[in-house]
């Protein structure tokens, strides 16, 4: 499948460690406008394309997907700062409901350090048995991706990712 402009733009932006707000501030537009580009709802004005490609460190052809050469993106060598990591919890309940929670890792640490006890709530007992301290340690040591995958006897699944 051909890569859309939005996906390509987002890939270049992330490779340069820029946020949507960074781009928006640079061009005096709203972050929502940048989000629309990345979702292929709208496209940047032609008058800023040149500056945009310069900011992203790619050629105009690459930005527009007109190159046949593979784009070399420098991989991040140093581990991502844990302040910018997200802990994603995806719960697929056996009754068909689905819950996704995305929280900055720093918030999870804050909750754990504050020693707030999480009580069991409804059928989310499965979450209480997860050692979030251990997950944070794994994330800080550089592990990312899916770190936990649990399936309850009733079919409820819990996946935990670090991005």
């Amino acid at each position: 499948m051909q890569e859309t402009f939005g996906i390509r733009f987002q890939r270049f932006r992330k490779a340069k460690n820029l946020t949507q707000e960074d781009i928006a501030n640079k061009f005096n537009i709203s972050p929502q406008a940048v989000s629309k580009w990345e979702n292929d709802i709208s496209y940047p004005d032609i008058t800023i394309l040149s500056d945009l490609s310069e900011l992203l460190g790619v050629s105009l052809d690459e930005l527009l997907g007109k190159t046949t050469e593979p784009t070399v993106i420098q991989q991040r060598t140093e581990p991502k700062d844990s302040k910018d990591m997200i802990l994603r919890i995806v719960v697929n309940d056996s009754d068909g409901s689905k819950v996704k929670v995305n929280l900055p890792l720093s918030l999870i640490k804050l909750g754990l350090h504050s020693n707030f006890q999480v009580s069991s709530t409804g059928n989310k007992q499965i979450l209480n048995d997860i050692d979030f301290d251990q997950i944070i340690k794994m994330a800080e040591s550089g592990l990312i991706g899916k770190l936990v995958e649990i399936e309850d006897e009733d079919g409820t699944t819990v996946d935990i990712f670090i991005d």
């Binding site: 995305n102 720093s106 918030l107 909750g111 707030f116 709530t121």
Partner: protein, 77 residues
């Protein structure tokens, strides 16, 4: 901050994030054995952390719940 309930989206200033999260969480008695002040202080910190995270990383979908009956609640900062 935007809160989507089924097909309706409500836009709220980010300063309400602490209030929204506190209400959402406290309704389920998620925290036990803590005073009102301790909980209030924690949510002040939570608000600060979230807003700083958003400044660094852009928009974040905090919660997305799809119920089996088709209803949906989504909170985006």
């Amino acid at each position: 901050m935007r809160i989507t309930i089924n097909k309706f989206t409500f836009f709220l200033p980010n300063r309400f994030i602490g209030y929204v999260l506190k209400k959402a969480v406290m309704n389920e008695d998620l925290f036990v054995n803590k005073t009102e002040k301790e909980v209030k202080d924690l949510f002040k910190l939570v608000k600060k952390e979230l807003i700083e995270f958003k400044k660094r990383n852009g928009r974040i979908v905090l919660v997305d719940v799809k119920d089996s009956d088709g209803s949906r609640v989504k909170i985006t900062l």
